[in-house]
Amino acid sequence: MSTREPREEGRAARIVEATINGDDRGVLVQPWQTLLEVLRDSLSLTGSKECCGNGNCGACAVILDGRLVNSCLVLGVEVAGSDVRTIEGFGSSGRLDPLQQAFLESAAFQCGVCTPGFIVAASALLHANPTPTERDIRWWLAGNLCRCTGYDKIVRAVQSAASSLPEREVAPG
C-alpha cells in the first residue's frame, strides 16, 4: 500500500499477472516500480542486478516476450500478460545452461556481478545469430559493462558456447 502523499488518481498499486521463468505469477506492482524492482524486491529474483538504473550497464538484462531488454527501463505494470525470462530461468534441475557452463569453464568472470546480464544478453545473441564472429559478439555485448575481465574471456566463453551448441537450445523465453 502506498503511503506517499498526495494520493492521486491512477497512482494506485495494481495486480500484474505475467509468466516469470515459466511460472504464472500475480504481483502487486506500484506504478513507479520498474520491472527490475518487481523482480528483485517482490519476487526475490535477485540474479538481475541494478548497477546503473538507467540502461547503461546491462546487468539487469532479461528476455521479455523474446526480446532482450534492460529491466530497469521497463515499468512493472508494462509486463502484464507478458513472458519474462531472467537468469534464474536458465538451466534446469541442477544442470547449467550451456552458456552458464561456458562462462564457468572459460573463467569468464571475476566478481560475477555483471555475469547474469552477460549470459542473458549472450543467449539473445545466439538466438539471433548462432554463429557470431568475434566482432558480432563484441558489438552485441557492447551494452553490457564488465569492469573486471577486459571482456577477453567473456568473448571466448560466448564463442565456446556457440561452437558447442545444437541450434535452438538457447532459444529465449
Partner: protein, 766 residues
C-alpha cells in the same frame, strides 16, 4: 596464455585450473551481493547530497521531511558523535584522523564537494525516502571551488580547511590546501644530470578517475536494542569496516558484527566504509533494519575515486643509453580531506629503473572533489605515465630501441629503492626479455596511411605489493574434506587460489577444500583484500594452517596406532607408520569422535612481500581526421612469481590492462566552472566496452618470490600501471605528437594534431 617458468614440480594442485568454488553461484545469479541483502521489516535509506562543490551550510531544516507519512528517521551531523583526535586505521591510502572520515560521511558546517552527504532519511520504501529527501530545506552560502591541485596551491586560492597545516612543509602556520609535502633524495641529482648527454623534462596531468566497480555501494544495518550492530555489506575489508564504525559511532568493536557479502568489484574503492555509518544512525533512530544502496550518480559523485594529479618528470641519459638521474614532482589531489597515495610516488617513480641519483618530491593537495580512495596500485599509474613517456622521448632522442634501453636500465636484485633499501629478487629483466621475444613485439606493424595511422608503444610498471595480517581456520571434516574459513573477501577467485595452496600442502584434492569467506565473529582479524596481498598472504597462512592440521592428524594417528609421533610419516596426503597407512579421508574417519582436535586457526602478519613488474605492448590506430584512437593489439607481460590459479591470473592482467586503457583514452571526471560533476553516469563516464578492446594477449613470467612457499607475488594491481604510457607512446609513434594530458580523447588528440600540422606546416608531415 603463455607461461614462462623455471623448472618446478608441477604435480600438485598449485598451477592447475579447477572450476571456481563459487562459480556455479555466480553463473546462476544465486550469489548474494551487498546490493541483494535484506532483513525482515527493513526500511530503505536515502541521502541528501550537496548540489554545490564548496559552500557554508547556514541551516538544515528537516521538519517537512520528518512529518511525511512513511518516514521513520532523519539524521544529520548532530547524530554522529565527535570523534576527537582518534586516528583511523591505515589502509592503502595511509592513516588519517577519524574526524575527517566523520566529516566525509556527513557534512557539518561546510560541504566540500558536489555530492557531499548532508542528511539521510529512512522510510518504508525507496520512493518515499526519495520524496522526503527533496523536502529537506538547506540554506547555503556558496564559496569559490578549487578544482585542481595547482589551482588549490596558488596564492589566494579558496581554503577548504582553515585548520589544515602542511605536514613536512616549509609553510609554517600559513593557511594552505597542502596537507603533506614529500621529498626523497638519493645520490647526487645535479651531478647525474651533468653527466647526461640528453636531459628531457615534461609536464603531465591526469584526471580524477573512478574504479568503476559495477556493484554500487550498499549497506544493510540493524542496530539491535541490546546495542549490537549487525552489518551486511559489500566490502574488501570487513574488519576495516568494523574498526571504522567503532571509531565513528564510538561503540566497542566486539558489538559490531560485519558480514561481507559477495562483492561486485572493488579495485580499492571498497577498502573503506561508506553507507554503513548513515545506515547505522538511521537504524538506531528508527529501531528497524535499514538498507541503503547508492545509485550510480552517487557512486561517481560521492564515493572515493582515484586522484587526479599534476606531474613533472625530468630524466637524463647518456648517448650510450644509461640513465644518469631522475627527478619527479607530483601534486596529488587528495580530494576534500587529507590522505592520498602521495607517499607511494617515491617508490613508484624510482622503482621503474635502476637508479643511483633521484629526487622525488610531491604535495598532497585538498580540492573540492570527493575524498580519494585506493584504486589498483595507487599512484603508480600516474608515475609510470610520466616517467615512461619521458623515457620514450629519451629513446627517440638518442636513437635507442625502447626495449633495449629499458633492459639496459632495468631494476634488478640489489637496485636501490626509494626507502634506501635494496631490491631482492625481482623479475623486470625477465619481463622485458619475454616482451622482446614475444610474437607481438616481433611482428611488423602496417603503419597505415593518412588518415589512418598506426603505431606501437611499450611501457613498464612497478608495484610494491602488500603483505600484512591474514587469518584462516581449517577444519578436517569426518568425510575427509576440509572447511577453510578465510578472512579475505573473494573479489576475483581467491577462495580457490587460497584453497589450491592449502590443498597442495596437505596433499589433498582442491575440490575437497570448501572455502568460506568469514564474517568478523568467525575468524581472527584479517587485513583487507587489497594491495595484491590475498593470494600471497592469506595463501601463505593457509599453507601454514595445512602444515599445522597435518601435525594434528599425525598426533591423532600416533595415539590411535600407539606409535610415537615421529614414527608417523606424511607424504602427499598419505599417512604411514610401519605397515599402517591411512589416506587423509581414512584418517578423518578413524579420528572421528576420538576427541582429537582437527581444527586449526592461524592468524599472523606475513613478511617477505615480492614486488611486481609488468611490461605492456600496445598497437594503436589513430584516425587523424577525428582524433579517435583504437587499440588494435595489446600484450601484457608480467612477473607473477608463481601463477597459482592461471586463468584468474591471466584475467587480472587483462582486466587491469582494460582499466588502464580506459584511463588513457576515455575516462575522466568532467566538472563545470562551479565544480559540479557533469558526467555522473556510466554513459558519460566512459569505461571501455567489449567493442573498444581487442583480445588482450598475456605472457605470464614466473620469477618465484623466495620468501613464499609457492613463490607467489601479488598479481592484481600492477596490470593497470603500464597502459597509460604504453598507449601515449603508441600514439606518439603513430602520429608524431606527445600527448601529456589524460584522457587522450578525440578532442584532445585533434587539437594536438592541429598544433603539429600548424608548426610543421603541412598535414602530411611525418
Amino acid at each position: 596464455l603463455t607461461i614462462i617458468q623455471p623448472r618446478v614440480d608441477r604435480a600438485g594442485p598449485v598451477g592447475t585450473s579447477p572450476l571456481r568454488h563459487d562459480g556455479v553461484d555466480k553463473v546462476t545469479g544465486r550469489a548474494l551481493y551487498g546490493i541483494d541483502a535484506s532483513m525482515p521489516n527493513m526500511l530503505i535509506g536515502k541521502v541528501l547530497r550537496s548540489p554545490h562543490a564548496h559552500a557554508r551550510i547556514i541551516s538544515i531544516d528537516t521538519r517537512r521531511a520528518q512529518s511525511m507519512r512513511g518516514v521513520h528517521a532523519v539524521v544529520t551531523w548532530k547524530d554522529l558523535p565527535d570523534p576527537g583526535d582518534q586516528m583511523l586505521a591505515a589502509n592503502e591510502q595511509g592513516e588519517a584522523p577519524i574526524r575527517f572520515k566523520a566529516l566525509n560521511m556527513i557534512a557539518r558546517d561546510k560541504v566540500l564537494y558536489h555530492g557531499h552527504a548532508i542528511a539521510a532519511i529512512a522510510a518504508v520504501d525507496g520512493q518515499t525516502a526519495e520524496e522526503a529527501v527533496k523536502r529537506i530545506d538547506v540554506l547555503y552560502e556558496e564559496l569559490p571551488a578549487v578544482m585542481d591541485a595547482r589551482a588549490a596551491m596558488a596564492v589566494g586560492a579558496a581554503i577548504l580547511d582553515p585548520e589544515l597545516r602542511t605536514r613536512n612543509g616549509a609553510a609554517g602556520d600559513r593557511l594552505t590546501n597542502v596537507a603533506l609535502h614529500m621529498r626523497v633524495l638519493a645520490g647526487d641529482v645535479e651531478r647525474g644530470f651533468a653527466e647526461a648527454d640528453v636531459v628531457i623534462e615534461r609536464e603531465f596531468t591526469t584526471s580524477t578517475i573512478h574504479q568503476g566497480y559495477l556493484e554500487p555501494h550498499a549497506a544493510t544495518v540493524y542496530w539491535r536494542p541490546d546495542g549490537h550492530l549487525l552489518v551486511e555489506t559489500s566490502t574488501q575489508a570487513q574488519f576495516g569496516v568494523r574498526s571504522e564504525l567503532a571509531g565513528l559511532l564510538q561503540i566497542p568493536p566486539s558489538q559490531i558484527h560485519v558480514t561481507p557479502l559477495e562483492i561486485g568489484g572493488g579495485f580499492g574503492g571498497k577498502t573503506t566504509s561508506w553507507l554503513e555509518t548513515l545506515a547505522a544512525l538511521l537504524s538506531r533512530a528508527s529501531g528497524r533494519p535499514v538498507k541503503m544502496v547508492m545509485n550510480r550518480a552517487e557512486v561517481l559523485l560521492a564515493s572515493g575515486p582515484a586522484p587526479g594529479a599534476y606531474l613533472r618528470a625530468k630524466i637524463g641519459a647518456t648517448n650510450a643509453g644509461k640513465i644518469t638521474a631522475m627527478q619527479v614532482y607530483a601534486a596529488v589531489e587528495a580530494g576534500a580531506f587529507p590522505s592520498s597515495p602521495l607517499p607511494r610516488v617515491a617508490h613508484c617513480a624510482a622503482g621503474l629503473y635502476d637508479l643511483n641519483n633521484f629526487l622525488i618530491e610531491g604535495d598532497e593537495v585538498l580540492v573540492n572533489k570527493p575524498k580519494t580512495t585506493a584504486y589498483r596500485a595507487p599512484a603508480s599509474p600516474h608515475c609510470s605515465f610520466a616517467v615512461e613517456s619521458v623515457v620514450d622521448e629519451l629513446c627517440r632522442s638518442i636513437g635507442q630501441d625502447p626495449l633495449a634501453f629499458r633492459l639496459a636500465n632495468a631494476p634488478k636484485e640489489g637496485s636501490l629503492r626509494a626507502d634506501g633499501s635494496r631490491f631482492e629478487r625481482i623479475g623486470m629483466v625477465e619481463c622485458l626479455e619475454a616482451a622482446q621475444s614475444s610474437a607481438h613485439w616481433r611482428s611488423t606493424l602496417d603503419r597505415g596511411s593518412r588518415p589512418i595511422r598506426r603505431g606501437r608503444g611499450i611501457a613498464g610498471g612497478f608495484w610494491i605489493n602488500g603483505g600484512g595480517l591474514s587469518s584462516v581456520t581449517a577444519r578436517l571434516n569426518t568425510d575427509g574434506t576440509v572447511t577453510l574459513l578465510e578472512g579475505s573477501p573473494d573479489i576475483g577467485g581467491t577462495r580457490t587460489s587460497i584453497a589450491l595452496q592449502f590443498a597442495e600442502t596437505l596433499g589433498m584434492a582442491v575440490a575437497d577444500v570448501h572455502p568460506i569467506v568469514a564474517d568478523t565473529d568467525s575468524i581472527p582479524t584479517s587485513g583487507m583484500t587489497g594491495g595484491s596481498r590475498t593470494t600471497f598472504a592469506t595463501g601463505y597462512i593457509a599453507h601454514r594452517a595445512a602444515l599445522a592440521l597435518r601435525e594434528r592428524v599425525i598426533a591423532g594417528l600416533a595415539k590411535l596406532w600407539a606409535v610415537s609421533h615421529d614414527d608417523v610419516r606424511a607424504d602427499s596426503g598419505l599417512f604411514t607408520a610401519g605397515s599402517r597407512a591411512a589416506t587423509l579421508k581414512v584418517a578423518a574417519q578413524l579420528l572421528a569422535g576420538s576427541g582429537v582436535d582437527l581444527s586449526v586457526t592461524l592468524s599472523d602478519r606475513v613478511p617477505g612481500v615480492g614486488p611486481a613488474y609488468a611490461v605492456h605492448i600496445a598497437d594503436v590506430e589513430v584516425d587523424e581526421e577525428t582524433g579517435r584512437t583504437r587499440v588494435i593489439r595489446y600484450t601484457a607481460v608480467q612477473d607473477v612469481g608463481r601463477a597459482v590459479y592461471p586463468p584468474y591470473v591471466e584475467s587480472q592482467l587483462q582486466g587491469g590492462a582494460a582499466q588502464g586503457i580506459g584511463w588513457a583514452l576515455h575516462e575522466g571526471y568532467w566538472y563545470d566552472s562551479q565544480g559540479r560533476l557533469k558526467n555522473a553516469s556510466l554513459l558519460d563516464y566512459r569505461m571501455p566496452t567489449a567493442l573498444d578492446l581487442p583480445m588482450i594477449e598475456t605472457i605470464v613470467v614466473e620469477v618465484p618470490n623466495p620468501h613464499h612457499p609457492y613463490g607467489v607475488r601479488g598479481v592484481g594491481e600492477v596490470p593497470i600501471v603500464p597502459p597509460l604510457a604504453a598507449i601515449a607512446n603508441a600514439i606518439r609513434d603513430a602520429v608524431g605528437v606527445r600527448v601529456t594530458d589524460l584522457p587522450i580523447t578525440p578532442a584532445r588528440l585533434s587539437a594536438a594534431l592541429a598544433a603539429r600540422d600548424g608548426t610543421q606546416g603541412g598535414a602530411t608531415a611525418q
